[in-house]
């Protein structure tokens, strides 16, 4: 079939782990939109979910850091974090190695992705899954874009990766869903955790939802670091989704800064044409 769903959502560990400390009204409104996001995903009847994440040193380290990596296993596990800290129980998550292999082979015509037959999920994938496939009944294909350990892939390449991934999806008989998960502006895991640049986020989201490639790839890493923190590097996951839905626009379902979650909490879908 082809790509049948595309969207983005936040993945910060506080979303589950520090739920009790958030303003209940905003938190519940966010959770409600995540649930609506899940329903939209369900309605698309995906055979597998590709999740483009920005992992945080759960599998990849500076001894051999891939710019892009795609999982190629029949099962994964996660979270690596303390279960109580994240408030998500450790478990196996189904994959589909054979489908992964087909996607990887196609993507490799244009982007030199690494592959991994073993992958431990951290909050970057487990938090979204906790909301969008709470029964863990959809095979997941994890994709990582290195957003943590510079040098990082250029933004234009992240967009191109999305384009190439889309072509690979459209060549498969399965119905495939794509979710990107990352920042936007945030300073996670620093003394400035909780700082959020809402104006920057809203401008970025406007560009993302309108899928204006030239503007999306215009940020330098220096500007992003200054205005959106090191967590802002994770916009690469959004750019991959924008690349996969090039020519289409999106709908913002939710955006609100929730400081104890350390991020502007975001849920959005992109039209798949």
């Amino acid at each position: 079939m082809s790509l049948v769903f595309a969207g983005v959502c936040s993945h910060a560990p506080g979303i589950t782990g520090r739920a009790a400390r958030a303003d209940a009204k905003v938190r519940d409104a966010f959770y409600a939109k995540l649930d609506e996001f899940r329903q939209r995903l369900d309605a698309a009847k995906p055979d597998a979910l590709i999740i483009v994440a920005a992992e945080h040193f759960a599998n990849f380290f500076m001894n051999n850091m891939p710019a892009y990596c795609v999982g190629m296993a029949d099962f994964y596990e996660g979270p690596i974090e303390d279960e109580q800290w994240l408030a998500i129980k450790r478990r196996r998550v189904p994959g589909n190695a054979e489908l992964s292999r087909r996607l990887i082979k196609d993507v490799m015509n244009d982007i030199d992705v690494a592959y991994a037959e073993e992958w431990k999920f951290d909050h970057g994938i487990m938090v979204p899954l906790n909301f969008v496939t709470p029964r863990y009944d959809v095979p997941v294909i994890p994709v990582n874009v290195n957003c943590q350990g510079p040098p990082l892939t250029p933004l234009a390449r992240a967009y191109e990766f999305g384009r190439v991934l889309r072509r690979a999806c459209d060549a498969q008989p399965e119905r495939l869903a794509l979710i990107g998960t990352g920042g936007i502006s945030h300073w996670p895991a620093t003394p400035d955790s909780g700082v959020i640049n809402e104006a920057w986020d809203r401008q970025f989201l406007e560009r993302f939802l309108a899928n204006r490639r030239a503007e999306l790839i215009s940020y330098t890493d220096e500007e992003t670091l200054r205005d959106a923190g090191q967590g802002g590097f994770e916009i690469r996951t959004f750019l991959a989704v924008a690349g996969a839905t090039e020519g289409a626009t999106g709908e913002l379902m939710f955006y609100a800064p929730i400081p104890i979650f350390a991020v502007g909490c975001t849920v959005a879908t992109m039209t798949v044409r």
């Binding site: 560990p13 506080g14 782990g17 520090r18 400390r21 945080h56 040193f57 759960a58 599998n59 380290f61 500076m62 001894n63 690596i80 974090e81 303390d82 800290w85 994240l86 431990k120 951290d122 943590q148 350990g149 510079p150 300073w187 996670p188 895991a189 620093t190 003394p191 400035d192 955790s193 909780g194 700082v195 670091l225 200054r226 923190g229 090191q230």
Partner: protein, 103 residues
């Protein structure tokens, strides 16, 4: 400074239950297998999150480590603030480029 090896140890500790077991049973022997300065070794032995942050350990690695140590969120955030107050600004790595926002 051998920041790479400090981070490598923490990376392995965070993701691998077998390394965690060794860390709990005999920290000194485990640390002996990594190229570490005396300051790095003692920060790791003491679980000194503030000093590790100032040394330049990537925050994501450090956050998972603090969770593994069972540090409550506010204790962990304050440890980084206290580390900067006590030891000065972050010395190496990506976070040297972050400007001070609220700490």
């Amino acid at each position: 400074m051998s920041l790479y090896y400090v981070q490598k140890l923490l990376y392995q500790l965070n993701r691998d239950p077998a390394v965690r077991k060794r860390f709990d049973a005999d920290r000194t022997t485990l640390l002996g297998e990594y190229e570490l300065s005396d300051e790095e070794r003692s920060a790791l032995l003491d679980g000194d999150v503030g000093l590790l942050y100032v040394m330049g350990v990537n925050g994501q690695i450090l956050m998972h480590y603090a969770a593994l140590l069972g540090q409550p969120w506010d204790v962990y955030i304050n440890a980084m603030r206290e580390g900067v107050r006590k030891h000065g600004p972050v010395r190496a790595g990506l976070y040297t480029m972050l400007k001070d926002r609220q700490s």
